[in-house]
Chain length 391, copies 2
C-alpha cells in the first residue's frame, strides 16, 4: 500500500466533507468525480471510464469505495481505508444496463445499511456522472431525496496542505524542465510531434529524485495560424520560419498539477507580436501583484482587463482558475475562476493557474503561471522567465 | 483546414446517422460524446472538458457544431462544415450555471430553427453528458420529447472504412515500436517512470513518415504484486529482480487507436507464470482463429473461457471490445464486447481489442491484440510476438 498523505490528513478531509454535508442537510454523499474520490480515499487508478464511487455518511467512519472487481486490488493498493470498506461489483453490472447497473449496486449497498430513505447528495455536474446514471439511481432509491452536491468536495480541496503544495512544487519542476527543453528544441524543420514527444518524456521521467505522472490533459501546442484556436495541439508537420507557437502544458506529480504556458516565435517576430506579448506579461504581473488574502477573484480579473484595455485589447474568456489535484479530462478544479462577478476571496494556500491569453485574428499569445496565495501576497509555484521567446 | 477524410466519407456517415434516427423516430440528435462529434464533423480539439455538441437533423444538410467562442477557430480548422454551421457561445455561459448554461444556448438554437417541439435524441450515458446538463436541456425545451440515443453513433462507427483501417495500422506501428523499446529497456534498477517516458516518446514521435497523437488513456503498466489490479500504472520505483510487469498501451493516429498488451518477467519466471502465460496465449489464439463474419461475440468469449477452464482458470470480466476512434477517458468504443450473452455478429472491417487477461492472487498476466474481421476470417492489426517476455 502506498500512502501519499498521513492518515490524519485524510481524516481531516473527510471530517470537513461531513461538516459541509451537515450544513447542506445532506445525509449520504455519493462521490463519482475521480479527483474527489482520490482526495478522500486515496484511490488512484485508470478505471474512471467505468462507474465507481466513494460514499460518505456519518454512519461510516471511513469513506466506502465501490468499484469494479478487477480494480479491487487497485483500491487495496492505493486507498487508506480498511478492506471492509472496499466493495467490488462483478462485471455483469456492466453487461446489460437495461437489466442492472452499477448505480443499482450502490443503491443496494445503501439499502443494506439502512440509508435508502435519506437525503442523498450526488455530483450532478461532475465529469462522468451521466444523465443515465442518475436515472438509475433515482429508480433504485425511490424513497431517497436527492440533492445536488456538485463541487461540495472541490471547494474543500481549494486550500492546500503543506504536502499538497510540495507535490505541486514537484509538478512545477517537471513542467519547467519540459518547457525549457521544448523551447530549446523548437526550430525550423523540427517536427511538432518530436517536441511533444520530448515534453512527455521530460514530465514523466522527471529528475534523479522523482518521476512524474500522466497529466490530465495533453499539451496544447499549436503553431502558426492554428494558435488562433484555444485548444489545438501538435501535428507531425515541421515548424516553419516566421511562425508563432504557444505551449500550454502541465507537470503532474501524484495527480497534482502545475500548468505553465509560454509563447515562442520562430524567426523575426513582428512588432505587434512583441507588443501583444509585452501587454500580456504586464497584465499577468499586475494581476499577480494584486493577488493576496482578502482580494476577490473578480478584482484580479478586473486589473488584468484594465491593463490590456489600456492598449485597446479585450479578453472575453476567464483568465484563470483554481488548480491542483485532478484526473482527465482537465486539470482545472472547477471552483474559483478569475472572471467578472466572482466574489470569492483569496485565502492563504489557495492555488491557481493564472491564464492570460489573447486569441486574436490570425494568432494567439499566452504566458501563464501557477501560483499560490501566501499569508501576505502570492508567489509563483512555476519559476520560468516570463517573456516571449524568440528563436 | 485539415481534412482527415474525404467529404464524401463524412457525408456517408451523416446519412447513416440520419437513417438510424428515422428508424428510432428521433427528429433531432444532440451529440456530446467527443468521439461521435469528431466522427461526424471532424472536430478535434482538447476542449471536451466544457460543454459542446454537434446537432444532426434532417433540416440541416450538415452537422452543426456548437462550442465555446475560444474554440471557434478550432472548429474552422478541423471540421468539414461550412462556417455557417459553426456556432459559438460566449464564455458567460460557463460563469453561473444557475442563470444560464450551454444547454440553454443549444436549446435557443433549436428554437430559432423551429426544432424545439421535436423528438430529441440525447446520449444519456455518454462521457461528459452529466445529469445536470440533461436537467438544463429538459427545462429549456419544455415542449420537446427526449429519447435516449446513447451509442446510436457508436454503433455506426463499428465497421471501419479503408482510411480508418489505415489510421489504425499506423497506430499499430506506433505501439509496436513503443512496446519493443519498453521491453528492451525494462531491467533491474531501471525506474518505471523512465520506461513510461520512453513509451510516450515513441508513440508520439513515431517514425520518419508520421508522428502520433496522445492516446485516450495512459499506459497501464504495474509491476510486482501491483499487477493484481487491472488499472494501476507506473511509479518512480525501480524494477526489481523476480518481478512480473504487464504493459497495456495504445498508439494513436488521428484519434484512431491500436492497443496492445504484453507481460514481461524480470528474472527467472516461476513455472506457474510460464504456464499461465501459455494458457492466455492459447486462449487468445483459439479466439482469434474462431473470429470471422457470422460468429457472435459471445461465441468468441465462450471459446476463450472454455480454453482457460480446461486448466482450471476462469475470467469473470469481459475479454475484449470494439476499438477505433476515441477521446479520453478510454479507447473502447463501448458497443460490441466479448462477453456472455452478446449476440452481435461479427462483420468484415469491425475492429476489436481482444483483451485476455488473468488477474490472479498476487500477480496478473495479459497478452492482447488489436485485430480486424476480414471477409473470411480475421487478422491482427498489431504485429508483435505473442508470448511472455523474460528478461
Amino acid at each position: 500500500m502506498v500512502m501519499l498523505f498521513e492518515k490524519s490528513e485524510y481524516i481531516e478531509r473527510v471530517n470537513k466533507v461531513k461538516e459541509s454535508m451537515a450544513v447542506r442537510e445532506i445525509e449520504v454523499l455519493i462521490i463519482t468525480d475521480p479527483a474527489n474520490m482520490c482526495y478522500l480515499s486515496g484511490y488512484d487508478a485508470l478505471s474512471f471510464y467505468e462507474a465507481q464511487a466513494v460514499v460518505i455518511a456519518p454512519e461510516f467512519e471511513q469513506p466506502v469505495w465501490i468499484g469494479r472487481l478487477q480494480d479491487y486490488y487497485c483500491a487495496v493498493e492505493t486507498t487508506w481505508v480498511d478492506t471492509d470498506n472496499i466493495i467490488a461489483y462483478p462485471d455483469k453490472f456492466l453487461w446489460d444496463t437495461t437489466k442492472r447497473h452499477v448505480m443499482g449496486f450502490i443503491a443496494d449497498y445503501l439499502k443494506e445499511h439502512g440509508l435508502d430513505k435519506k437525503v442523498i447528495g450526488v455530483e450532478m455536474d461532475a465529469y462522468y456522472f451521466t444523465a443515465f446514471w442518475y436515472q438509475w439511481l433515482q429508480k433504485s432509491l425511490p424513497n431517497a431525496i436527492f440533492k445536488d452536491a456538485t463541487k461540495l468536495v472541490n471547494w474543500i480541496r481549494g486550500i492546500k496542505s503543506e504536502k499538497e503544495l510540495e507535490y505541486m512544487s514537484r509538478a512545477a519542476r517537471l513542467v519547467e524542465k519540459a518547457m525549457k527543453n521544448a523551447i530549446d528544441k523548437i526550430d525550423v524543420g523540427i517536427r511538432e510531434c518530436d517536441v511533444a514527444a520530448g515534453i512527455y518524456s521530460d514530465i514523466i521521467s522527471g529528475n534523479a529524485e522523482f518521476g512524474g505522472d500522466y497529466p490530465s490533459l495533453a499539451p496544447i501546442m499549436p503553431s502558426g495560424k492554428r494558435t488562433s484556436g484555444a485548444h489545438l495541439t501538435w501535428t507531425d508537420k515541421k515548424y516553419q520560419d516566421n511562425q508563432i507557437v504557444y505551449m500550454e502544458m502541465s507537470g503532474c506529480y501524484r495527480r497534482y498539477h502545475a500548468p505553465l504556458t509560454r509563447t515562442i516565435y520562430v524567426g523575426k517576430a513582428p512588432q505587434k507580436v512583441h507588443d501583444t506579448a509585452a501587454i500580456v506579461v504586464e497584465g499577468l504581473n499586475t494581476a499577480l501583484e494584486l493577488a493576496k488574502p482578502g482580494v476577490t477573484c473578480e478584482e484580479i480579473e478586473r486589473v488584468w482587463q484594465k491593463t490590456i484595455n489600456k492598449y485597446g485589447l479585450e479578453k472575453e474568456s476567464r483568465m484563470g482558475y483554481a488548480v491542483g489535484l485532478s484526473y482527465p479530462p482537465v486539470w482545472c478544479e472547477d471552483t474559483a475562476f478569475f472572471k467578472p462577478g466572482e466574489k470569492i476571496e483569496l485565502k492563504p494556500n489557495m492555488t491557481f493557474h493564472m491564464m492570460p491569453g489573447m486569441w486574436l485574428d490570425g494568432y494567439g499569445i499566452a504566458i501563464t503561471e501557477t501560483f499560490r496565495i501566501t499569508e501576505k501576497g502570492s508567489e509563483t509555484i512555476t519559476k520560468f522567465p516570463r517573456k516571449l521567446f524568440v528563436k
